[in-house]
C-alpha cells in the first residue's frame, strides 16, 4: 500500500484517450496494475499447460512453439460452444453506453478499460482471423493479426476486469464483459499465462477443499478460536459438527469466512444463529470452500472444483445445502452448479426445518442462500432480535456484484438488516442494486500487487460510501460477499477510513437474543456493545 499514490493524487484522472490509435499503442505493464504469474508447481498439480518460471515484464514469455495455433483453435472451439461468445463478437455497435459504467475506467481513465474496448481486444483478433471483412479491410475495420503483443495486452486487461457485469446492465444487447473476460482468460490459460492469485487458490481448493489450503486439523483450530470468542461474548458454548453423516443440511461458505477478520465475525454470526435454531446441520472439511476461483480460470475448472459440493452432500446423505454470504460463489451455485454437476436428484427440495417454508426457487439445485433462509426466519418471527445492540452502527449496504446481477438478491439482505439494526441508510441509487459498483478486487484481483488498480477501480464504490458517511454518519459497510469483506476493508482504509466492513450475519449474531446467554456487553468483534456518542468504532 505504501507505494500507491495518495488518494488526492490518485483521484486526478485523465479520461482523454491518447492521439495514437489503440491498436498501435502496445501495453505497458505498470507496477501495481498486474498480478504475478502462476507458480509452476500449482499448474503442475492441476495438470494445466505450460508450467514455467516467467514474468509478465519479460520480453520472452516462454510460450509453446505453436502458441498461435493453440489460441486460434481455442477460439474456434469456443465460438462453436458458446452462443454468448459468438454473438458478443458479432453484434456490438460501439454505441459507447458501457464506457463510463466500468469502475476501472471511471477510476483510471485507461481507454482499454472501457468495456467496449476490452472486448475489442478480443474482437479484433476474431475479425482478423475468422471474418472476411476483417481479412479484407484489416485494421481499418478493427481487425488485426494475433501477435505476442496482443497476448500481453490480453493478459494485462483481462486481469483488470472483475467480471462484475455492470456494463452488461446498460448494454442494449446485453453484451456481458464477464463472458468476454472469461473467454480471454480461458485462452490465456491454454498457454499457461495465468496469475498466481487465482491459480494457487484453485490448486489449494482442489487438494485441501478450500482456497486457503487449510488442512482439516488447522480448520478445527480456527473454529476453536471462534467458538472461544463466542463463549466469551455470549456465555454459550456452540458445538458445530464436521463431516457428520445424516445431518439434514450441509452448510457451505467461503473459507475466508473462517480464516480472517472481518469474515470470522460473519462466520460467528452463522454459528450462533444455527445454534439458537438447533439446526441439524454439518460443515465439511472436504467441501470447505463455497467460493470457486475456477470461475476466474475456465469453465472446466469451475466444474472440477464445484463437483465437491454435490459429492459431499451425497456422501453425507444430507437433504439439502445452505450457502453462506459470498458473491462469485453464488454466481457458480446459481448459474452453473446444477447444469455442470447436477442433477441433484439424491437431495430433497429444500424446506426450512424451522418455519416449514418451501424454497421453491431452489427446488432443482437444492441450495438456498443464507439471506433467503434468514429473511424467512425473521418474517415468521422465529428469531428474538434486539436491534438496539447494533445501535453503535450506522449501516449502509453494498450489493455484491454477483448476487445482484446474476441472481437478483436485493431485498433479502435489506430486510434482514432493517430487522437487526436501527440505523440503515442507502447509498445513491446509481450505485446500488443492479447498478452496484464492484469492490474492484473480485475475479481474482484482490491481491496486494494489484493495489493501484484496486484503489482506482474501487473509487466509485468508496465515493458512494463517503457520500453516506458524510451525510448520515455511516460507519459500517455491510455486504454479503467474502471477497468484499477482505477487499472493501482495504478500500475503506484508503478512501474512507472511518468506515469498517461487516457481513450481514455478523449483525444478525449481535442482535440475536440467545437462550441462556449472559448479559451481552461486547459485540462479536469484541467491541463494547454501547458506545459513547461520537466515539469511532475500532
Amino acid at each position: 500500500m505504501s507505494d500507491v499514490l495518495k488518494p488526492a493524487e490518485l483521484s486526478k484522472i485523465n479520461y482523454k484517450p491518447p492521439r495514437k490509435e489503440w491498436m498501435k499503442t502496445p501495453v505497458n505493464f505498470k507496477h501495481g496494475m498486474y498480478i504475478y504469474p502462476a507458480k509452476a508447481k500449482n499448474l503442475k498439480y492441476l495438470d494445466m499447460p505450460n508450467p514455467r518460471e516467467w514474468s509478465p515484464t519479460d520480453k520472452d514469455w516462454k510460450l509453446p512453439e505453436n502458441w498461435k495455433e493453440i489460441v486460434l483453435e481455442g477460439m474456434r472451439e469456443r465460438l462453436g460452444k458458446y452462443r454468448s461468445f459468438k454473438i458478443f463478437m458479432d453484434i456490438c455497435v460501439r454505441c459507447g453506453a458501457c464506457a463510463d459504467k466500468c469502475h476501472f475506467f471511471i477510476g483510471g481513465g485507461d481507454p482499454k478499460n472501457m468495456p467496449v474496448l476490452r472486448a475489442e481486444l478480443l474482437r479484433s483478433i476474431y475479425r482478423g482471423h475468422f471474418t472476411k471483412s476483417g481479412k479484407i479491410f484489416g485494421s481499418l475495420n478493427g481487425a488485426r493479426e494475433l501477435t505476442v503483443d496482443v497476448l500481453k495486452e490480453w493478459f494485462y486487461y483481462f486481469y483488470q476486469c472483475t467480471e462484475c457485469r455492470r456494463c452488461s446492465v446498460f448494454c442494449p444487447y446485453g453484451i456481458d464483459t464477464a463472458e468476454i473476460t472469461m473467454m480471454g482468460r480461458e485462452l490465456l490459460n491454454l498457454l499457461g499465462c495465468n496469475v498466481n492469485w487465482v491459480i494457487e487458490p484453485v490448486a489449494n481448493c482442489y487438494r485441501t477443499g478450500n482456497h486457503l489450503g487449510i488442512q482439516p486439523h488447522a480448520l478445527m483450530d480456527m473454529f476453536e478460536m471462534m467458538l472461544d470468542d463466542i463463549y466469551d461474548r455470549t456465555g454459550i458454548r456452540v458445538k458445530p459438527s464436521f463431516n457428520r453423516k445424516g445431518a439434514e443440511i450441509l452448510f457451505v461458505t467461503p473459507s475466508a469466512d473462517y480464516f480472517a477478520e472481518p469474515g470470522i465475525y460473519t462466520c460467528m454470526g452463522y454459528l450462533v444463529l444455527f445454534h439458537e435454531l438447533g439446526l441439524d446441520y454439518t460443515w465439511s472439511t472436504y467441501a470447505s470452500e463455497g467460493g470457486n476461483f475456477g470461475l476466474f480460470t475456465s469453465h472446466e475448472m469451475i466444474k472440477r472444483l464445484n463437483a465437491k459440493i454435490y459429492a459431499e452432500a451425497k456422501r453425507l446423505g444430507v437433504k439439502w445445502i445452505l450457502g453462506g454470504e459470498c458473491g462469485h460463489m453464488w454466481r457458480v451455485m446459481h448459474q452453473y452448479m446444477d447444469t455442470m454437476n447436477g442433477p441433484a436428484d439424491f437431495l430433497e427440495e429444500p424446506v426450512s426445518p424451522v418455519t416449514g417454508t418451501k424454497f421453491e426457487n431452489a427446488k432443482s439445485t437444492k441450495m438456498v442462500h443464507i439471506t433467503e433462509f434468514t429473511a424467512d426466519l425473521i418474517r415468521n418471527n422465529k428469531l428474538k432480535l434486539d436491534p438496539s445492540r447494533n445501535d453503535s452502527l450506522r449501516v449502509t449496504f453494498h450489493d455484491s456484484c454477483n448476487p445482484a446481477r446474476a441472481m437478483g438478491i436485493l431485498e433479502e439482505p435489506r430486510y434482514i438488516i432493517k430487522n437487526v439494526c436501527n440505523n440503515f441508510y442507502e447509498m445513491p441509487e446509481n450505485t446500488i442494486r443492479e447498478q452496484t459498483f464492484c469492490c474492484a478486487g473480485g475475479a481474482g484481483l484482490g491481491t496486494d500487487e494489484m493495489m493501484e488498480t484496486r484503489m482506482r477501480g474501487g473509487l466509485p464504490r468508496a465515493n458512494a460510501v463517503r457520500h453516506v458517511h458524510e451525510k448520515y454518519g455511516v460507519n459500517r459497510l455491510a455486504c454479503i460477499c467474502a471477497i468484499d469483506r477482505a477487499t472493501l476493508t482495504t478500500l475503506m482504509e484508503y478512501w474512507v477510513p472511518e468506515v469498517k466492513v461487516t457481513g450481514v450475519h455478523e449483525m444478525v449474531g449481535n442482535a440475536l437474543v440467545m437462550e441462556g446467554e449472559k448479559e451481552r456487553t461486547l459485540t462479536l468483534r469484541g467491541d463494547p456493545l454501547k458506545e459513547t456518542e461520537g466515539e469511532v468504532n475500532v
Partner: protein, 330 residues
C-alpha cells in the same frame, strides 16, 4: 481516416449510380440487377448468420438480472427486469427490442473536485436511438405503398399520419426529419466525444453515411428533383412480380437512392447491423432467471477430472482422526 474512407465510399456509390444512369444508361443494371442481387445477398446472408449463431449452443443460463429475483412469496419480484417465466422473458425482450430498456438506464459519469463522482441521467443516446430506429421502420413500411396494388388501408393510414402536419407540397413526412436529425446526432456524438471517436471503426461510420445518404437522396427526390412516381411504381411492381420493366423516364436521383439502399441491404449481413437479429438471441437477456428451479442442460457437458473424497481422506486421514473428524476408513 476511417471517417474519410467511409464518406468517400458512399460518395463513390453515388457517383457510380449517377454516372451509370446519366452517361451509360445502365437502367437494367441499376434498376433490376443490383436490387435483386442486394435482396438476394441480404436474405441469404441474414439467414446464414442467424443459423450460424443458432448453431452454437447455450451451455449455461446466464441472464443479467436487473431487479429482485423470485424467492420468498412475500418479496415482490421484478418480473420484467428479472423474469423467471417465459412470459416474463417475452416482456423483458419486448421492452428491450421495442423501447431499448437497457439504454434507458444510461447515465453519464462526472468526476468533480473532492473527488466526487456524480451519475447524471443521460437519455439522449436512448432518445436518438429510439427515434432513429422507429422512424426508419415507419419509413420502410410507408414505402410498401410502392410495392402493393391496391395499397392496403393501414399503409395509407400510416402514410397520412406521418404527413399530418401538412407542411409543404408534397406534405412533409415527420419521420424524414426525425431520421435525419437522429442519425446526425449519432454521427456527431461519435465524432465529437473523444472516447467514442477512439473506438469507432469504418463499420461504424460507413452505415451512418449510407443511411444519411439514403435519407437525403429520398428527401431530394420527394421535394426537389421530383421523379415520375408512376414509372417508379411500375418498376417496383415489376421487380416484386419478377417481371421487371425498366423505363428511361425516372430521374437519376432515384437510381442513386436505390444504389445506396441496395448497398445497405447487401452490406447488412456482414456488419454490426446484424444486431437486429442478434438482440433476439442474446443469452443475458432472453433467458429466464429460474436457474435453481429448472435445471438447464448443457449439450456438451463432459466429465472432468476431480479430486475425490477418497483421495482427500487418504491424504489427510491421520490429521482428521487426530481432531475427531469422522472418516470412512479407519
Amino acid at each position: 481516416m476511417k471517417l474519410l474512407f467511409s464518406f468517400i465510399t458512399v460518395l463513390l456509390l453515388v457517383i457510380i449510380a449517377y454516372a451509370g444512369i446519366r452517361y451509360a444508361s445502365l437502367y437494367y443494371v441499376f434498376g433490376v440487377i443490383i436490387p435483386y442481387a442486394a435482396v438476394g445477398i441480404f436474405i441469404t446472408g441474414f439467414v446464414y448468420r442467424v443459423l450460424k449463431w443458432a448453431g452454437s449452443p447455450v451451455p449455461f443460463r446466464i441472464p443479467t438480472t436487473c431487479g429482485q429475483e423470485k424467492s420468498l412469496p412475500w418479496i415482490k419480484q421484478n418480473k420484467l427486469d428479472n423474469p423467471s417465466s417465459t412470459l416474463g422473458v417475452i416482456g423483458r425482450m419486448s421492452l428491450e427490442i421495442l423501447f431499448f430498456r437497457s439504454l434507458l438506464r444510461n447515465t453519464k459519469t462526472e468526476l468533480r473536485e473532492g473527488p466526487s463522482l456524480a451519475y447524471g441521467s443521460d437519455k439522449w443516446l436512448w432518445l436518438a436511438g429510439l427515434a432513429f430506429h422507429w422512424s426508419f421502420l415507419i419509413i420502410l413500411i410507408r414505402h410498401l405503398r410502392l410495392f402493393t396494388e391496391p395499397v392496403p388501408y393501414l399503409i395509407t393510414l400510416l402514410n397520412n399520419l406521418d404527413a399530418f402536419l401538412q407542411i409543404g407540397v408534397p406534405p412533409l413526412y415527420i419521420t424524414d426529419v426525425v431520421l435525419l436529425a437522429s442519425v446526425s446526432y449519432l454521427f456527431i456524438r461519435r465524432v465529437l466525444i473523444p472516447q467514442f471517436r477512439y473506438i469507432s471503426l469504418i463499420s461504424d461510420y460507413f452505415p451512418l453515411f449510407l443511411i444519411l445518404g439514403i435519407g437525403i437522396s429520398g428527401i431530394l427526390m420527394r421535394y426537389f428533383f421530383r421523379v415520375n412516381l408512376i414509372s417508379v411504381k411500375e418498376l417496383v411492381m415489376g421487380l416484386v412480380s419478377f417481371n421487371p420493366q425498366v423505363s428511361a423516364d425516372i430521374g437519376s436521383i432515384f437510381y442513386i437512392h436505390i444504389m445506396l439502399i441496395a448497398t445497405l441491404f447487401a452490406y447488412f449481413p456482414f456488419s454490426k447491423l446484424m444486431h437486429m437479429g442478434g438482440v433476439f438471441l442474446s443469452p443475458t437477456r432472453n433467458l429466464a432467471n429460474n436457474n435453481r428451479m429448472i435445471r438447464h442442460i448443457n449439450p456438451w457437458n463432459y466429465p472432468v477430472k476431480v479430486h475425490t473424497y477418497e483421495e482427500y481422506e487418504d491424504e489427510f486421514r491421520d490429521k482428521m482422526k487426530a481432531v475427531d473428524i469422522p472418516v470412512e476408513k479407519e
